[in-house]
Symmetry: C2
Amino acid sequence: MRDLFITPQPELLSSWLQAVPKAKRITGLNEITSTQQETICWVHIDIAGQKPLADILPAILKHAPSTKIIVLANAPSQSEAFYALGLGAQGYCHAFSPSKVLKEIKTVVTHGGIWVGSDFLKQLIHATTNLAGNKTHQVSILLAKLTKREQQVAIEAAKGLSNKEIARILNITDRTVKAHLSSAFETLGAKDRLHLALMLNDNSLK
Amino acid sequence: MRDLFITPQPELLSSWLQAVPKAKRITGLNEITSTQQETICWVHIDIAGQKPLADILPAILKHAPSTKIIVLANAPSQSEAFYALGLGAQGYCHAFSPSKVLKEIKTVVTHGGIWVGSDFLKQLIHATTNLAGNKTHQVSILLAKLTKREQQVAIEAAKGLSNKEIARILNITDRTVKAHLSSAFETLGAKDRLHLALMLNDNSLK
DNA sequence: GCGCACATTGTCCATCAGTACAATATATTT
DNA sequence: AAATATATTGTACTGATGGACAATGTGCGC
């Protein structure tokens, strides 16, 4: 196990050294020589913005793909956490986290896990629950209230198609489309097709 | 540390016991007496469907809120994983996972982490990147193309408001609202307000 | 000062959307 | 067999929508 710290600060924080006694500070990525031993790269970000992350993380992974990366942020933010994980980081936490937390993070990451703050986690689960879980589920519940034909019409309408276009697709009159749509509005409590589109496409971020 | 297994299939216990030698199988939730020691509850789900999870997990957490829950699924699915995590589980994996993996999961969870499969994780990060990262970003890019007033009008229109309602909110004529909207359509390449609403609310799942 | 982008409003008009009132046909349930 | 739910289409009407053509005022940079 090898722990490398990349930080713009001249010295490692004491809490880091407490958590990782054998920590080594490096200045350039070329010091990440590829070895057999597992490597954890602690990347310290002291300024906001995603440019450094976007450069550093891919560079590290290019050097040594199996490297575990933990991002230490001076000013942590949800969006940056998303960003870091999206770039391949295994952990994202406050740079001033107590050594106890850092140790836990190291343990988790070493064992193939991902470590993120609980707030972030809540947010993540909430967002994704709304997205892939409930969302589709909720939409299914709504659609289930409609008849088969009403569903087809509603779905097409929710895509933004006009009544005429829907009529052509389903091979019926646009008058019939109106009938089904009106019925769908009534059943689902939508005031118009835009409202219905919002319900069916849903937008968890409102 | 106390490990409790809830399973309808005792046959699998042997492989689990390899990973967690001191594990104990329980049949009813009332056996989860609240103690000082940390408890991991391994919940085995052998049939598809979310009803059992929706019953069991909250019940466990009601008994002993600090319990860590790991769900073992005979037929794992992304949606069920989402569901389990949303209900408060700390881990979700295949019921036939090798003991080595189970050990890792235990380590991760014990240290306050969340364990999910790598496929799930990829999906999660992809979804959330699209959701909270790029999505908002994309929308920002779209909105940035509009003038301040056009943005305001477009945003309200995307919520489903009529021109009159928007006019009232912004304290302008509905004719002006039309003007800004028309301009926004032109700029963003939207054919009508529904199209614009879909663009701005976005629907990463289409 | 002049041009330009932006905001505001007007009239006119063609089209679309949604509802009201109504009728017919088919399938399923009781 | 009667009733009910579903699918289909019609006419007529109202209101919303979006574009065409046009004008006025304001602020900002060259």
